[in-house]
């Protein structure tokens, strides 16, 4: 494996300057996630509008480059999508990380697909998969209105 595959420029860039960082105004949903192995924490704030569209999506938290970049990219890709499409994106993302499935979503333009695919290198690093998926699981938890903190140890 080439480390440059894992640490692509886009990931390093998002890791250093995450987008949508902070707590957005008037969020309607929130959830917390935790990776006990490293102590990483993420909080996701989601504002759904009347039409069940993701009007805003922000996050707070600390973590490694992979985890921050994955969260940052997630907020960019999901913002503006309907809740159904957001859920589909989560599934696509997890499939890519776990099974190496290529992203073919109609919802994303080429640029966005490239962004999402930039995280596909994580598949080769089993211990880092949880870093990449924590935010996405936490988003699911927020959308489903779950109260319990997401814990990467119970996810596969």
């Amino acid at each position: 494996m080439d480390l440059k595959q894992l640490y692509q420029d886009i990931i390093l860039e998002h890791g250093k300057s995450p987008r949508n960082f902070g707590i957005c105004n008037e969020y309607t949903h929130e959830a917390k996630g935790h990776n006990p192995l490293c102590g990483d924490q993420v909080e996701v704030y989601l504002k759904l509008n009347k039409e069940s569209k993701v009007e805003n999506l922000t996050f707070k938290g600390s973590g490694c480059a992979i985890s921050i970049a994955s969260t940052s990219i997630m907020t960019e890709l999901v913002k503006g999508k309907s809740i159904e499409k957001a859920k589909k994106l989560v599934v696509d993302f997890l499939n890519m990380i776990k099974n190496g499935t290529i992203i073919k979503s109609d919802e994303l333009d080429e640029d966005q697909k490239t962004k999402m695919m930039s995280l596909s290198g994580v598949k080769q690093y089993p211990m880092r998969v949880k870093c990449a998926t924590l935010a996405w699981h936490t988003l699911t938890s927020a959308m489903e209105g779950n109260k319990e903190k997401v814990n990467t140890e119970v996810l596969d």
């Binding site: 935790h34 006990p36 192995l37 089993p126 211990m127 880092r128 814990n151 140890e153 119970v154």
Partner: protein, 406 residues
Amino acid sequence: MDINSIRSQFPILSKKINGKQLVYLDSSNSSQKPLNVLNSLDYFYKNEFSNIGRSIHSLAVNATNKFEETRISVKNFINANSKEEIIFTKNATESINLIATTFGQMSIKKGDEILITELEHHSNYVPWHYLRETRGAIIKFAPINDDGDIIIEKFKELITSKTKIIAVTHLSNVTGTIVPIKEIVEIARKKNIPVLVDGCQSAPHIKIDVKDLDCDFYAISCHKVYGPTGVGILYAKKKWLEKLPPYNGGGGMISEVNKNQITYAPLPEKYEAGTMPTAEVVAFNESIKFMQSIGIDNIIKHENELTNYTLEKLKKINSVNIVGNPRNKAGVISFTIKGIHPHDISTIVDEEGVAIRAGHHCCQILHKRLNLNATARASIGVYNTKEDIDVLCDAIKNCRKIFELK
């Protein structure tokens, strides 16, 4: 089943004891280990060793995966629902203590009853005794008949509205009694009482299906199942493991730790505090493979034949008395010889290379029930043969000669 090929996997069986070929008939105490298990231990330490679950370097990732593979093998071996239901402990004794302690903390109050049987090993009595001492629980002993079978009618009568848990062995380590666990669980289910099964002796010798048995808890010692020392297994239904408080506290079983509050890891880690017997767990996967490569049905058939052969031959020797005559009996054969104390028997047969056990086998209650101070016990493993039994019987005849019994 190719017994020679099986025996060749156990290097110790070709050792000499007191100048005689070793005849190992102490497998109920601990089984010998086949080469694939020993090779796994050695290979793991020489090529792959690392602590698991904590570091994220390649060695640690690989070791963690190997460790978790065993968990899945164990899950399949006993037909559990999920791998979260498999907890690695140090031995079956710890498995039972874990449940007695945590269940006791959660559910046992003064006057509550715990139902066990007269067959139980100390490891399935002392932990419950603690609840008597610390929480005022009452322990009832379901009686056995002279054959060594639990008297089911009496067992039923002992269940009251205060019975909080039932703990019973699957297979007696003295009489070889195979206890009808399904029947007992069905009785308990009607009253909503959880059942813990001590599966120490059953795991290597009969088919275990916890889903079919429907028991709540099942305890196993890997060293009796052709595995390394230092590992045990606790199976518990997920609903219990989620509800019960944690047991040992420490690294690996926590989620968030603050100065005033602690939250615990999800299953199964919640119950695995501190560094696990990593290499031993990894190697135990090979023990399961060893048994599966022979086939549990073949093991049962072979051991049944050998048990019957042993019983017949022993009964033909004057003044030998077999302890118990249960309806279903596995290859655990305890006996006495009128006029010779079991310790003397053990010493004399040892001189012929025969390893059997003498004493109360951690079952003082049972020995008292049967009016015995001690017994001699020959116990069978998959590697034993009729020749082994012949050597045992000749050695017993020698005991009689030395003691000048007629």
